[in-house]
Symmetry: C2
Subunit: 126 residues, 2 copies
DNA sequence: ATATGTACCCTGCGTACTAAGGGTACATAG
DNA sequence: CTATGTACCCTTAGTACGCAGGGTACATAT
């Protein structure tokens, strides 16, 4: 599995990393159970910050593409193939688009939507 | 109808203005058909910018609390009482809270929600 | 000429977020 | 002692938005 990070790309580094790991899974370049480099190792190889790699790993684990086993390292998830094909962001977008579209159709301004959104995100639900 | 604007208040000026006009409607201090001051006149009286008053009027008209009749001026809407009792922002908040709560419950991070939200608001639905 | 709502240009200030990095520390298990 | 993931602390740069104001202009109708 060869990973290439382009720091000039507008795509965030952690996203580039996630995308390439998922791509490697889909292309059978890595298979369930295979070990991945440690966070620190990969960060060193790619000249990235530990936190950037850790972020990508954390999200990939949430999406069940990889599995971290504490001090034993990180491995490809048994269901990695199926889960790598999921486009979570597209799903989020569709859900939000539906709600926001309904608000806009009701004459609510974008400004009002943004303010209400900010309140919800900060748990100030009033 | 007496309107008092507190520029020290954290509540936005146009919101204070909207609130007080709606309150005057609910208290029967103004009635459907009554004329309101012109935008420029009210801005001058309250020492506000024309655009601030215009913004409040625009939103109040959208909410059918007032009616603007072009060069003839602005008047209280026939259904002003009922429409002044509506809390649009609470309704927006409830709609968004439902969608966002579902996303959060699915493990989506706030960061991801915010980014997707930004894309939807900018009609970059991809 | 005057007054109406409305639309557009521009500014400034405050706020809040993402992305990314630097550093330190911890419990775990070998 | 070493390596694992993880959790904090901090900073920096870039971006985007709300609110408010200043100014100019327009078609409308009296």
């Amino acid at each position: 599995m060869e990973i290439i990070i382009d720091i000039e790309d507008t795509v965030p580094l952690f996203t580039q990393l996630m995308d390439q790991i998922k791509k490697a899974v889909l292309n059978d370049q890595v298979r369930p159970g295979d070990a991945l480099p440690s966070i620190r190792q990969l960060a060193s190889d790619l000249e990235l910050n530990n936190k950037t790699v850790a972020k990508a790993y954390r999200l990939l684990e949430r999406d069940s593409v990889i599995q971290t086993k504490g001090y034993r390292g990180t491995f490809i998830h048994p269901d990695a193939r199926a889960n790598s094909a999921n486009d979570l962001n597209a799903w989020i977008l569709a859900r939000l688009d539906k709600t926001i579209g309904a608000l806009r159709d009701s004459g609510v301004t974008d400004s009002e939507i943004r303010i209400a959104f900010g309140n919800v995100m900060n748990n100030r639900n009033y």
